[in-house]
C-alpha cells in the first residue's frame, strides 16, 4: 500500500496535513486551522462539489475539530454525505457524524432515516457502517426506530454484522435498560454463536448484565468455564492469537465474568478451579499479554471462593511481578498483592522489601499504587508510620484531586487507628495545615470535639495537658502565612475555649493573636466570626475569674469595625461581645461557663423559672396565657412577650426563634444516648449544609453565644471507633469505617472460616492479624510490640470488646528509628541481587543486537546516497533483530518487553503473522525509501524540523 499522498488526495489536502505536521507550536497550529476554517466555510457550500472532494472536505473538518476548533458549520455536509451511494464516502460520512455529534444533537433526526435504510442494505459493509453509527448516535428516544431491524440482524449470515448488532443491542441496554429488557436473552443465545468473534463480543454485554445481577446468570457458569477451557486449549482460530497466547482478550473477559459469578459462591467457584489452574500453568509469563492474563487470574482467584492451590499459584505470580525490573509488572504486582492480602495475608510479609522499594520509587504512579496498598493494610501498629508517609507525600504533590483523596484517607486512618489523642491532634494539624481546604468540615468539628472531650472524665490532668499542648502548637502555627480557613476556625475555637485555661498565656496574649487572625484574614467572614466569639469567651472567662478586663486597642478597633459590619452575623457577635463585657461576673459565669462546650444544655420546656413573674403579672391584672391551640383569632402576642421578657432578662438578644431549639433537641435525644458525649459545639451558624437539617434557621439568636449551644445532629463518632453515623456524613467513608471497625472487633479467631464474599469484613479480619507481623517487620524494629489498650483512650473504652485492638505507643524516637530502618532496607534488597536473574533473562542478546546493527547499516549503505538518518528502520528489523536495542529508543524498557517474546517466538513459527508478513515485505527498506522520496516530492523535507514524523512507529 502506498501511504504517502495517496493517489486521490489533492495537493491542497496534502499541503494542509503537511503544514499541520510541521507546525512547531500550538499557536502556529491554531493559525493554520483558523485559516483552514475560513477556506472551508467558503468552499464547502459551493454547488456541485464532486464526492471525492467532499469527502476530503469532511476529513478536513475532522482535523479542525480534532485540533480543538469548532467545525459546526460543516456538520450538515457530513450528515448529507451519509446518504451517498459509494460505500467509502458513506462510511466517511458516518464516521464524521459520530465524531462531531452527540446523540442528542438536533441533526441526528436527519440521520435516523438513512440508518434505517442502510440497515436493510444488501451490502453487509453498508449494514456494518450503519450499525457503527447506531452505537454512537441512537439515544433513548430513537431506539424504537431501529430496534426491530437490529434484532433481525442478530441472525444475519455475516458474522461481522451479527457482532455489531450485538453491540448495538448492548448500547441500547446501556442507554435504556428498560427498553430492551425483554431482549436480553439474545445475549445468552449469541454466546453460542459459531463465530468466536461474535461470541467474544457477546461477553461485553454479558459482563455488564452479570455485574448488575449475578444470581440470574449462575446457570451460565458451566458454559463460561467450558468456553474458557476451549480457548485455553487453543480451539479457537489462530487469528485471535497474540504472541502465542490463544485469544487472550477473550480469556481476560471470561476471567472477569467468572470472578463475578464465583464471588461468595462456593459451588460455582469449584467449577472454575481446574480451568483457572490450567491457565496459571499454561500462561507464558515472558510476554506482556501472558502477564495480563496471569494478572486477571489473580483477580479472579482473589474474588472467588478461596482455593489453597490457586492462592499459591497467585502468590507465585505476584512475587515474580514484584521482583521484576519492569515498573509495569511491579505496579500490577502491588495491585494484585492488595487484592490477595484480603484472603491470604501472610503473603504480604514476603514482599515487604519490594513494597518499600516501590514506595521509595520516584515513579509517581507506582508510589500511589503502593500507598493504596498500605492504606489497605493499615492497622494500629503501623498507622503512625503509614500516615506519616502519606502526609509527607500529600505535602509534596500539587494535584488537588489526589491531594483530597489522600488527605481524607489520612483522616480516616488516623480516626480509626490513632494510638493516642496527642498523635491524633498532631496528625490532624498537619493535614489541616497542608490540605485544610480540601478536608470535610466535619473533620474539623470532630477535632474540636476531641480537644474538648479530652481523654475522659477520669483524667483531668491529661486533658489539660492535651489542651495546653494544642494551644501552644496553635499559637506557633499561627505564625505561618496563609493557613486554610478550616484550620483557622479550629485554632480560633481552641484558643477561645482553652487559650487562657492553664494560665500559661494571659488574656492579652491570646486576644492579641485572635485580633491578628481577624485582621490577617479579613476577607474570611467565617474565620472572623470564630475569632470574635473566641474573644468573647476569653473576656468572659476573665470576668468570671474576677479579673479586670482591658480591651486591647486593636481589639477595640476590630469591634468598632464589626459593629458596623455588613454581615449581620458578625455585627451580632460584636454586639453580643459588648453586652457580655458589660455584665457582672455571676451573670457571665452562667451564660459562659468555662470548658462547657460538651455539657448538655437543659432546656426547660415549661419555662418554669418564669412562674413567679407570671404570677406577679396576673395579680396585676394581666390576661392568663392561653395555649396556641385553644386560641382563636387572637394575636399571639402574649406568647412573644413572654419570650421577649425572658430574653431581656438574660441578655437582650433576638427573640423570635426561641422556640425552635426544643424540637431539635428532642429529636436528638436518642442520638445523644447512643453516642453519649458526642456533642459538638456549634460555633458557626453559617453553614447551610450543617444546619439545614436542624430546622433551626436562626441558630445564632437563641442562646446569645453560639458556643453555648450544643449540637447533637450530624455528629459522628469521629474519634476512636465509629459508632453511630448520622445520615449526613458521607456514605462512602462511613461504610468503610464501619466495616473496618467491625473487623477489628471480630478478632482473628474467625480467620479460617471466613469466606471471600464482597462483604469485606471477614477478609479484613485476617489482615488485621497477619498484618501486625508484617508491618512490624515491614517498618523495622519494634516488631514484637506489647499490646496494651491505650490508657484513657476514650474510644477504646467505649466498647470494651474492641480492646483487642492494640495500641502501640511509640515514642517519637522509636518512630524515627523505624523510619531510618525502613529507609535502609531498599539497599538490602539490591544486595540480595534477586532481580538480576530476571533482568538478565530480559536482556537482549548482544549478538543479536550486533546483527541487527549490521543489518541496518547494510541497508543504509545499500541505499544510494540517502541520508541514513531518514531511513526508517522497518518493522522487520524489530521483529527479527530486536531493533529496539539497536536504536536505543528511549522506550527500550517497553520495547524490550515486547520484542523479547518475538525473539523467543522466532523458532516456533506457529502463530507468527509477523514472520510471514516480514518475508513478504523483504524489500522493506526500499519501501521506506520510496516513501521518503515521495514525501520529498511533495515538498516535505524530512530533515527539517520534525524528522520524527517520518520514522516508522515500530522502528
Amino acid at each position: 500500500m502506498g501511504s504517502q499522498g495517496g493517489f486521490y488526495q489533492s495537493k491542497e489536502f496534502l499541503d494542509l496535513v503537511k503544514s499541520i505536521g510541521e507546525a512547531r507550536s500550538k499557536a502556529e497550529e491554531d493559525r493554520i486551522v483558523l485559516n483552514e476554517i475560513e477556506t472551508l466555510k467558503r468552499r464547502i457550500s459551493e454547488p456541485d462539489i464532486p464526492k471525492r472532494k467532499m469527502k476530503e472536505y469532511i476529513i478536513r473538518l475532522v482535523y479542525i475539530e480534532m485540533l480543538g476548533h469548532d467545525a459546526s458549520f460543516g456538520y450538515i455536509h457530513a450528515v448529507k454525505m451519509t446518504h451517498d451511494d459509494s460505500l467509502l464516502v458513506k462510511r466517511t460520512g458516518y464516521l464524521a457524524v459520530t465524531l462531531f455529534l452527540n446523540e442528542d444533537h438536533d441533526l441526528i433526526i436527519l440521520i435516523v432515516n438513512t440508518i434505517q435504510k442502510d440497515l436493510k442494505s444488501d451490502n453487509y459493509l453498508v449494514v456494518c457502517a450503519a450499525l457503527n453509527a447506531v452505537c454512537k448516535l441512537i439515544n433513548e428516544e430513537t431506539i424504537p426506530a431501529v430496534l426491530p431491524q437490529v434484532m433481525e440482524l442478530l441472525a444475519h449470515p455475516k458474522e461481522a454484522v451479527r457482532k455489531k448488532a450485538i453491540m448495538a443491542l448492548h448500547r441500547f441496554y446501556q442507554k435504556s435498560p428498560s427498553s430492551v429488557s425483554h431482549l436480553v436473552s439474545n445475549f445468552r443465545k449469541r454466546l453460542c454463536d459459531n463465530d468466536p468473534g461474535v461470541m467474544g463480543a457477546t461477553l461485553c454485554p454479558l459482563f455488564e448484565l452479570i455485574a448488575r445481577d449475578v444470581n440470574s446468570y449462575k446457570d451460565l457458569v458451566i458454559s463460561f468455564v467450558s468456553i474458557l477451557k476451549q480457548v485455553a486449549e487453543r480451539r479457537l482460530s489462530k487469528a485471535y492469537d497474540c504472541h502465542q497466547m490463544p485469544a487472550p482478550f477473550i480469556q481476560i473477559k471470561l476471567l472477569k465474568i467468572l470472578a463475578l459469578l464465583g464471588s461468595g459462591d462456593k459451588q460455582a467457584s469449584e467449577n472454575m478451579y481446574t480451568v483457572v489452574g490450567d491457565i496459571f500453568r499454561k500462561c507464558d509469563s515472558s510476554s506482556n499479554i501472558g502477564n495480563a492474563v496471569l494478572y486477571e487470574c489473580i483477580c479472579c482467584v482473589s474474588s472467588i471462593y478461596p482455593n489453597p492451590k490457586l492462592l499459591e499459584s497467585a502468590a507465585d505470580v505476584i512475587s515474580r511481578f514484584l521482583k521484576s525490573d519492569s515498573h509495569n509488572l511491579k505496579y500490577m504486582g502491588i495491585d494484585a498483592l492488595g487484592r490477595l492480602i484480603k484472603i491470604s495475608p501472610e503473603i504480604a510479609e514476603q514482599h515487604q522489601l519490594a513494597v518499600i522499594d516501590c514506595l521509595e520509587d520516584p515513579d509517581d504512579t507506582l508510589k500511589r499504587k503502593t500507598f493504596e496498598l498500605l492504606y489497605k493494610m493499615t492497622k494500629s501498629t503501623n498507622v503512625e508510620v503509614i500516615v506519616d508517609r502519606m502526609i509527607d507525600y500529600m505535602i509534596s504533590i500539587s494535584d488537588n484531586h489526589y491531594k483530597t483523596e489522600i488527605a481524607s484517607r489520612c483522616v480516616e486512618l488516623a480516626e480509626q487507628f490513632a494510638p493516642s489523642n496527642q498523635w491524633f491532634i498532631q496528625t490532624m494539624n498537619r493535614v489541616f495545615e497542608h490540605a485544610g481546604d480540601l478536608v470535610n468540615i466535619k473533620v474539623a468539628h470532630s477535632l474540636m470535639r476531641l480537644i474538648a472531650e479530652g481523654f475522659g472524665e477520669d483524667d483531668d490532668n491529661a486533658d489539660s495537658k492535651l489542651r495546653s499542648s494544642a494551644v501552644e502548637s496553635y499559637l506557633r502555627i499561627l505564625g505561618e502565612p496563609k493557613l486554610p480557613s478550616v484550620f483557622l476556625q479550629v485554632i480560633c475555637w481552641v484558643l477561645g475555649e482553652y487559650g487562657t485555661a492553664d494560665g500559661m498565656f494571659s488574656a492579652s496574649d491570646i486576644t492579641g493573636k485572635l485580633c491578628d487572625v481577624a485582621e490577617a484574614y479579613s476577607n474570611d467572614e467565617t474565620v472572623k466570626a470564630y475569632a470574635t466569639t473566641a474573644l468573647m469567651k476569653i473576656y468572659a472567662f476573665e470576668i468570671a475569674a474576677r479579673r479586670k478586663v482591658d480591651m486591647l486597642p486593636e481589639c477595640q478597633s476590630l469591634m468598632e469595625e464589626l459593629l458596623a459590619s455588613h454581615s449581620t452575623d458578625l455585627q451580632q457577635r460584636a454586639y453580643e461581645l459588648q453586652a457580655v463585657i458589660g455584665l457582672d461576673a455571676h451573670a457571665v459565669e452562667c451564660i459562659m461557663p468555662s470548658d462547657a462546650s460538651c455539657e448538655d444544655i437543659e432546656v426547660d420546656r415549661d419555662l418554669s423559672f418564669l412562674n413567679d413573674y407570671i404570677q406577679e403579672a396576673i395579680e396585676k391584672g394581666a390576661q392568663p396565657y392561653i395555649p396556641e391551640s385553644e386560641r382563636s383569632g387572637m394575636l399571639n402576642i402574649s406568647n412573644f412577650r413572654n419570650q421577649d421578657h425572658h430574653e431581656a432578662s438574660s441578655h437582650g438578644l433576638r427573640f423570635e426563634a426561641y422556640e425552635l431549639p426544643k424540637p431539635a433537641v428532642q429529636s436528638r435525644i436518642p442520638q445523644a444516648l447512643i453516642a453519649s458525649t458526642e456533642i459538638v459545639p456549634v460555633p458557626e451558624p453559617m453553614y447551610p449544609r450543617e444546619s439545614y437539617q436542624t430546622t433551626m434557621p436562626s441558630i445564632p439568636s437563641d442562646a446569645g453565644s453560639a458556643e453555648l449551644k450544643l449540637r447533637l445532629e450530624g455528629v459522628q463518632k469521629k474519634w476512636g471507633r465509629p459508632t453511630y453515623t448520622p445520615a449526613t456524613s458521607t456514605s462512602n467513608s462511613t461504610s468503610q469505617k464501619t466495616v473496618n471497625g467491625t473487623s477489628q472487633g471480630d478478632g482473628a479467631s474467625t480467620v479460617s472460616s471466613m469466606c471471600e464474599t464482597y462483604d469485606s469484613r471477614k477478609p479484613q479480619v485476617e489482615v488485621s492479624h497477619e498484618k501486625q507481623k508484617l508491618a512490624a517487620s515491614l517498618f523495622g524494629g519494634s516488631s514484637k510490640t506489647e499490646k496494651r489498650p491505650a490508657t484513657g483512650h476514650k474510644a477504646a473504652k467505649a466498647s470494651s470488646h474492641m480492646v483487642e485492638k492494640s495500641h502501640v505507643p511509640k515514642s517519637s524516637m522509636e518512630v524515627a528509628s523505624d523510619k531510618a530502618t525502613s529507609a535502609q532496607q531498599p539497599p538490602d534488597l539490591l544486595d540480595l541481587g534477586e532481580p538480576t536473574a530476571t533482568s538478565t533473562a530480559l536482556q537482549l542478546d548482544p549478538f543479536k543486537q550486533l546483527e541487527g546493527l549490521l543489518d541496518t547499516t547494510e541497508v543504509a549503505s545499500a541505499v544510494n546516497g540517502a541520508p541514513a538518518a531518514s531511513i526508517s528502520p522497518d518493522i522487520m528489523a524489530l521483529y527479527v533483530d530486536t531493533a529496539a536495542g539497536i536504536h536505543n529508543k528511549n522506550d527500550a524498557d517497553l520495547l524490550s518487553g515486547l520484542s523479547n517474546p518475538s525473539v523467543t517466538n522466532m523458532p516456533g513459527t506457529t502463530a507468527m503473522p509477523q514472520v510471514t508478513q516480514s518475508s513478504s515485505k523483504r524489500p522493506n527498506p526500499k519501501d521506506s525509501l520510496e516513501k521518503d522520496a515521495l514525501v520529498r516530492q511533495m515538498g516535505v523535507n524530512p530533515s527539517s524540523q520534525n524528522p520524527n514524523l517520518f520514522k516508522d512507529l515500530l522502528g
Partner: protein, 143 residues
C-alpha cells in the same frame, strides 16, 4: 464502559487522532488532552506506562515519535490495554506497511475505521487483524 478514549499524540503534544467513547464537549476535550498529554510526556521510559488521572487511568505507549494513550476505567487490566495498543499498531502496520505518523495523518479515516472495528461501546470486540482489515480492504477495492 472500559475504554473511555483513545488518543494518538506526537512528541510535541499535537493530537494526531482522537476517539472518545463518552461524549465530551470540544472544550473538555481540549482541556483533557492538554492535561494528560503533559502528564504522560513528562514521564521517562523506566516509569510505568500507566498514569492515574482523576478517577480513571491512562495507559500509554510510545512508538517512535507517536504516543498512544488510552483512557480506561479503574478496573481495566492495564497490561491487556498495552497489548491492545500494540495490536492496533501492528494492524496499522500490516495495512500501511511501516506505518508512521504521516500515514495516520494522511489516512485519518482509515485509522478510525480500524478503531471502529476493534472497539465498540468502549469494549474491545475484535482482535483478529484479518477481521479488522477486511472491510477496509474491500472498500479500497471497491473504490
Amino acid at each position: 464502559m472500559g475504554i473511555r478514549f483513545i488518543l494518538m499524540v506526537n512528541k510535541q503534544g499535537q493530537t494526531r487522532l482522537a476517539q472518545y467513547y463518552e461524549w465530551l464537549t470540544l472544550e473538555e476535550r481540549r482541556a483533557l488532552e492538554g492535561e494528560i498529554v503533559r502528564k504522560c510526556l513528562a514521564r521517562n521510559e523506566q516509569q510505568c506506562s500507566f498514569v492515574e488521572h482523576r478517577n480513571y487511568k491512562i495507559v500509554y505507549r510510545r512508538y517512535a515519535s507517536l504516543f498512544f494513550l488510552v483512557g480506561v476505567d479503574n478496573d481495566e487490566n492495564e497490561l491487556a490495554i498495552l497489548e491492545f495498543i500494540h495490536l492496533l499498531v501492528e494492524t496499522m502496520d500490516r495495512h500501511f506497511g511501516n506505518v508512521c505518523e504521516l500515514d495516520i495523518m494522511f489516512h485519518l479515516e482509515k485509522a478510525h475505521f480500524m478503531l471502529e472495528e476493534m472497539v465498540m461501546n468502549g469494549s474491545i470486540v475484535e482482535t483478529s487483524k484479518a477481521n479488522i482489515l477486511s472491510p477496509i480492504q474491500l472498500m479500497d477495492k471497491a473504490s
